[in-house]
Subunit: 246 residues, 2 copies
């Protein structure tokens, strides 16, 4: 059986009791190490009292071995946040169905609901944007379309920032702001956004300020994300943003 | 201190290890009993080895006592799903800030990411709609606006179904379909929706069918929710919907 287990939003202690039990019954535990970089691996190994093998993108995506191994053994794949947040994990389940291999999903906390800690209503979030690291000949700006679609219907945009897992390089809020500003040729987004660092950690930081201030602020360590709110905020949202951002 | 603790998507074992520890350090444990109805209270009490007091809407919302109690004691309020999913819990935190009472939030799994189990991309979900029980002189249809806004930008709509906590009455998928159909005078939504029962439970059921079929199906117990997908599905979403719905 393949057990897709959510690690949760922040530390190893966001694992659920169910996840903990499921992992205890697994023959081998992998950590998916490319949609996020979990920086508390040794604490997690201590907690579970076993070693964990970190898998690269290639090992997860182009690996019939993982599925074949799960045919005979109980194989756990730990995933940051909720296991279904990334499309790649849905594919893995489809591969199981195709191969006739049993699977199990253990849900967990995720930035998709944790972002409501900003004070913005979760009901008013629209489509989610990915902000990718630009390549040499690759300057994607599809996130702008997502943001403008959301603004049209009065929805907030959660922007998830890229991770280059090999280099252990997390995109920071200042980098993301620069990438969005560069793509936004019409300069239509120059109002207060919400920068969120370490959501769900004891030392989380949320700031509701102009992009220029987001770029200058001295943020704590990753993970970071950004929210570009609707231009029309409910007065309760404004009040909450004021009180819950530093 | 007021500890707002997420119970998670399904059973008492969706509590995180952190939640479990926080609850152990609390003097009193309440359960918010009106945005959801938790039907495993005695299992939860067994797990925590203590009694839990269920609070009504009035006791949570118009209760300075809760905040005052948290000034002197460690008070836990258990909330289904992630604690920030409902606006009412954000208000509670604002009350704490106002009163100078410390608070702590423990995130958990939630339908807001769990719904990706349908195979629909979480990135493509738009604003969330609430489907309320109609009253005698009260037939709200604001959910239609949310659905049509989302359709305009190619986004899926998660529809959360009402709970009448006093009567322990959960709106079912067939009821919700009837309410939406009645409001949709133009009959513009007659295509395949996704019905989800018991997401995150071992016996979850997901069906991707026409509303007429959703109404006839013999669903398992609550909780139920609905997704009205974008009319333009990515082929991967179609494939996943096909394979992951029964």
């Amino acid at each position: 059986m393949l057990c897709l287990v959510g690690l949760g939003l922040a530390t190893e202690r966001d694992l659920s009791l169910r996840a903990f039990n499921v992992l205890a019954g697994c023959d081998v535990v992998y950590l998916e190490g490319y949609t996020g970089v979990f920086d508390r691996l040794s604490e997690l190994e201590d907690l579970l009292d076993r070693s964990i093998h970190v898998l690269s993108r290639q090992e997860v995506e182009s690996s019939p071995e993982l599925i074949e191994r799960a045919r005979k053994h109980n194989v756990a794949l730990l995933v940051q946040g909720d296991p279904f947040s990334a499309t790649t994990h849905v594919s893995l389940i489809l591969d199981c169905v195709d191969a006739g291999v049993k699977y199990l999903v253990v849900n967990s906390s995720s930035v998709f609901s944790g972002v409501a800690r900003t004070g913005l209503s979760l009901y008013k979030f629209g489509k989610t944007a990915s902000i990718p690291f630009p390549g040499k000949n690759f300057k994607p700006d599809s996130f702008l379309r997502v943001i403008s679609d959301n603004l049209k219907i009065g929805a907030h945009t959660l922007c998830l920032l890229d991770v280059e897992s090999d280099a252990h390089d997390f995109m920071t809020i200042p980098e993301a702001v620069r990438i969005i500003e560069r793509a936004d040729k019409k300069d239509s987004l120059d109002y207060r956004w919400v920068g969120c660092a370490r959501l769900g950690f004891p030392d989380e930081v949320v700031k509701w300020v102009k992009p220029s201030t987001l770029k200058r602020f001295d943020w704590p360590a990753a993970p970071h994300c950004l929210v570009i709110p609707s231009k029309k905020l409910h007065f309760m949202e404004k009040e909450a943003l004021k009180m819950l951002s530093d």
